[in-house]
């Protein structure tokens, strides 16, 4: 039957009286059809909820790569002595294997790509909630440390754990829309994620893991320097500025307080940044003055690797912010030695094997000269 019931001469002007003719509401004989549509919609909603649950479950079951490392953290299987926190610079620069080898302590890198300090704090809180407290936390700093997050990078990573209090609060602070996935099935996997992570989840459900590129949270990047920085510099001939936002400062203070409250030693580290980029950052002195001020006020060590021996060597970097795997290896060894020396200074009596087989303490003093202490 046609949905349009032609009752009148189509050229005659209409009056409200015309429209008042006929049925009001739905003919009761049509209710079964209405119910049929509602049943289909209901079935669809249930299917979406089930699929959402399956994807999240599958992602939580992954044991390799990004999700593998994240699952270790969120499922309380890390429990390391040394934790490295920060952005992708932390994730790419600090090799926990080197730290473990030199210090003899277990180490894990919880650095997250594309994060600012506010999200890093949320990740750290979630880590502390699910794992044994570490003895020391290395917080890697960036020029953009005091910039708060406006858009969550790779939100799919957090979706399977959206019911975790810390993760939920972190996502909510960044963008309240991100948390709609808690109530609307598939919303986050479909709307917020562009990487088909739901497919990874479905594969995880049947035990198929992605190829592993991550070691104890460390993400070495075997990439060479490209012309990316030259193009960036050409596009910003007057240099760049990173704002020092009061909220950003407060977040770092919160992180320091969190460590103090938990009796965890915190060390602030500015890992190597390509020399050319350092010179391009117009307010670098302002940012570092803030780092030094916080370090002094809260009595937290601040190790600045801005003058590290290879900061002008492009063979150690793949872009201005990130070292490649070669640079990361060199840096991790230097850093681990300094860390071991620092821990021994604290009276923790740590020490492992150096690459050459000698005791680490004998080779530590040399590397310490390359670093500015504050």
């Amino acid at each position: 039957m046609s949905p349009i019931v032609e009752t009148r001469d189509s050229h005659r002007p209409i009056s409200m009286r015309d429209m008042s003719q006929g049925d009001n509401g739905i003919d009761p004989r049509r209710w079964p059809n209405v119910l049929r549509i509602l049943c289909f919609v209901g079935m669809l909603v249930i299917a979406c909820y089930l699929l959402n649950g399956m994807v999240s479950k599958g992602l939580r079951m992954l044991t390799s790569d990004e999700f593998g490392a994240w699952n270790e953290e969120m499922q309380g299987r890390v429990n390391a002595d040394v934790i490295i926190s920060g952005s992708s610079r932390a994730a790419n620069h600090f090799d926990p294997r080197e730290i473990a080898r030199v210090t003899g302590l277990t180490a894990f890198n919880i650095g997250r790509n594309g994060t600012q300090t506010d999200v890093q704090l949320g990740v750290l809180r979630a880590y502390l909630e699910h794992n044994r407290k570490p003895r020391i936390i290395i917080q890697n700093l960036d020029a953009f440390t005091f910039v708060t997050t406006r858009e969550l990078y790779d939100p799919a990573l957090y979706i399977p754990y959206i019911d975790d209090h810390e993760i939920y609060q972190t996502m909510r602070k960044v963008d309240v829309e991100l948390t709609q996935g808690r109530y609307i099935p598939l919303y986050d996997y479909a709307v917020e994620d562009m990487n088909f992570t739901w497919w990874l989840g479905l594969k995880g459900l049947v035990g198929i893991n992605p190829k592993n590129t991550i070691y104890l949270g460390f993400k070495p990047r075997d990439r060479a320097w490209s012309d990316e920085f030259d193009r960036f510099r050409a596009g910003n001939p007057k240099g760049v500025t990173f704002p020092v936002q009061p909220d950003g400062v407060r977040v770092l203070e919160d992180m320091i307080t969190l460590c103090h409250e938990n009796g965890i030693q915190l060390v602030l580290v500015y890992s190597p940044e390509y020399d050319g980029m350092q010179r391009m950052t117009k307010n670098r002195e302002e940012i570092f003055a803030e780092f030094r001020e916080l370090s002094k006020r809260y009595n937290v060590p601040f190790w600045d690797y801005s003058q590290w021996k290879y900061v002008d060597d492009t063979s150690m970097f793949y872009n201005s912010q990130h070292m490649n795997s070669r640079g990361a290896e060199m840096f991790s060894i230097d850093f681990a030695r300094q860390l071991a020396a620092y821990m021994n200074k604290l009276g923790w009596q740590v020490g492992g094997q150096s690459a050459s087989g000698t005791n680490v303490m004998t080779s530590t003093l040399g590397s310490m000269n390359a670093v500015r202490f504050h």
């Binding site: 949905p3 009056s15 015309d18 429209m19 008042s20 006929g22 509401g25 299917a47 479909a190 088909f196």
Partner: protein
């Protein structure tokens, strides 16, 4: 309100259920209220502009029936001029000033750009044209003037087609508001299926391809020939799926409530000539220009050169309708040139094919015609998409240079996106080919309700999962 927003996912069921549940005498008012809410979700104040257009043409329609024959034309001109004035101010004022300054610059007179900040009301060109068609049809005597302002306002503002068409004619739509609408399972399910297909085109194809196209066309000089070619090919499908997807959702949404809107697309890339392409692309606009511009100019019933002039004027104005930029004017004119050249060369092409022993119905000839038409359309799309004539010329002259198949991804569009993008285009083409052969999926799935529901649900879930939701609104909203 975007069709692809969560707001619409709530809005549409509420409006539809309300529409069928409330008393018949309130149904039109309900639709008008819903349409106002729908439109005000963009920029609320702009609804006043819409009301002005509605009032002008509503009064003009009644006036045209009442005034003496000698004054009718004057009233029509006043009405059209008033309606177009709104369009000119909001859409073309800056373009006109910019063009004058540019022309003065060529003449050696340097004028300063005035500071003008006008935001184009969404869908202004669509509802303006729908209003104009009403007044013209009343003037021609093909349509009685609508005395009920609520009904007339609903005709102009009917939310499924308010911001991007199809541009309806009063003879097709207006009378439907005075018909009685009862819930129909058949219409509702057909409408929902049509909407799902529209969402597939929009979310899965158009918005994914947009990631690539936007990256490349934002700065075409940063990309190699392969990327420029892919971006242009993708744009051809992006704009088709974006616009026809919107039309599908609009037609489907109206159908659920028992309204029938006109078809707006008919597999345009299956055309064998540019002439045929324009019979299949944006049909409601093409027929609008044919009826209200091309034919009044004399159409084809004039000598050769006036006919050529009529074609070129119609296409140039059509280009200008799409946007206040010279790229659109050149795009429209180029299509006019295609049409004229196609007609002029037909005799010679037929002769060449005949000399090669290839008949009219030969699959080879069809393939050649199909490919040629598509390539010509793509070349024209470059003008449509490029931000400036200079960018368009760069793309057109660098298609075949510096090809590099190892470097085809862009910042937003990773390699892993290609299988979904290309796969969905292939799926679309297969579906359209089957539809052209009257294949109906319902007949294949008819035997089992479980199979049918599973198939429909799987399709919907796939659209949800493969869709891209972070892009801008529908391309045609800006027109």
């Amino acid at each position: 309100m975007l069709f692809t927003s969560l707001h619409f996912a709530l809005f549409f069921p509420i409006v539809t259920v309300g529409f069928f549940l409330i008393p018949s005498k309130m149904k039109v008012a309900w639709l008008l209220l819903a349409s106002c809410i729908f439109y005000m979700a963009f920029i609320p104040a702009y609804i006043l502009i819409l009301f002005v257009t509605i009032l002008i043409d509503y009064a003009a329609g009644i006036g045209l029936e009442k005034v003496e024959a000698g004054h009718r034309k004057i009233l029509l001109v006043i009405s059209i001029a008033s309606t177009c004035l709104v369009l000119l101010v909001f859409k073309y004022l800056y373009f006109a000033i910019d063009s004058i300054i540019l022309a003065a610059g060529y003449a050696g007179v340097h004028l300063a750009h005035p500071v003008i900040s006008i935001v184009l009301p969404i869908g202004l060109s669509f509802h303006t044209f729908q209003s104009l068609s009403y007044v013209i049809e009343v003037y021609k005597g093909n349509q009685k003037a609508e005395k009920n302002l609520v009904v007339y306002a609903t005709y102009v503002m009917f939310f499924p087609q308010l911001v991007a068409g199809p541009i309806e004619r009063p003879q097709n739509l207006l009378h439907q508001f005075r018909a009685r609408h009862e819930f129909s399972y058949e219409a509702a399910t057909q409408g929902l299926k049509r909407m799902a297909w529209g969402f597939f085109k929009k979310l899965v194809i158009a918005d994914r391809l947009a990631l690539y196209v936007n990256d490349v066309y934002r700065a075409p000089r940063n990309f190699n020939g392969t990327q420029l070619t892919i971006a242009t090919f993708f744009f051809a499908y992006q704009i088709y799926c974006d616009f026809s997807g919107y039309s599908d959702i609009a037609i489907g949404a109206a159908q659920v409530m028992g309204f029938k809107l006109m078809e707006n697309f008919n597999s345009p890339y299956h055309s064998l000539s540019i002439g045929e392409f324009w019979h299949r692309w944006h049909i409601s606009l093409s027929t609008w220009f044919k009826d209200y511009l091309y034919i009044p100019l004399g159409g084809s019933r004039v000598n050769y050169w006036p006919h050529v002039r009529n074609i070129l004027i119609t296409f140039a104005v059509s280009g200008l309708w799409h946007g206040a930029n010279w790229t659109y004017v050149f795009w429209g004119t180029l299509n006019g040139v295609y049409l004229v050249a196609g007609q002029a060369s037909k005799r010679y092409r037929d002769a060449i094919f005949a000399a090669c022993g290839i008949g009219d119905a030969s699959p080879l000839r069809k393939s050649v015609s199909l490919a040629t038409t598509f390539i010509l359309a793509c070349i024209a799309w470059v003008l449509f998409r490029a931000a400036s004539i200079s960018d368009a010329m760069y793309v057109l002259t660098h298609f075949l240079r510096n090809w590099n198949l190892h470097n085809i991804a862009t910042e937003q569009f990773y390699l892993r996106q290609f299988p979904v993008a290309v796969g969905s285009i292939i799926f679309l083409e297969i579906a359209e080919m089957l539809a052209a052969r009257d294949f109906k999926i319902e007949e294949v799935l008819a035997k089992s309700l479980a199979v049918r529901w599973a198939a429909y649900a799987s399709f919907v879930v796939l659209v949800i999962l493969l869709g891209v939701y972070k892009s801008a609104q529908f391309i045609y909203f800006q027109f």
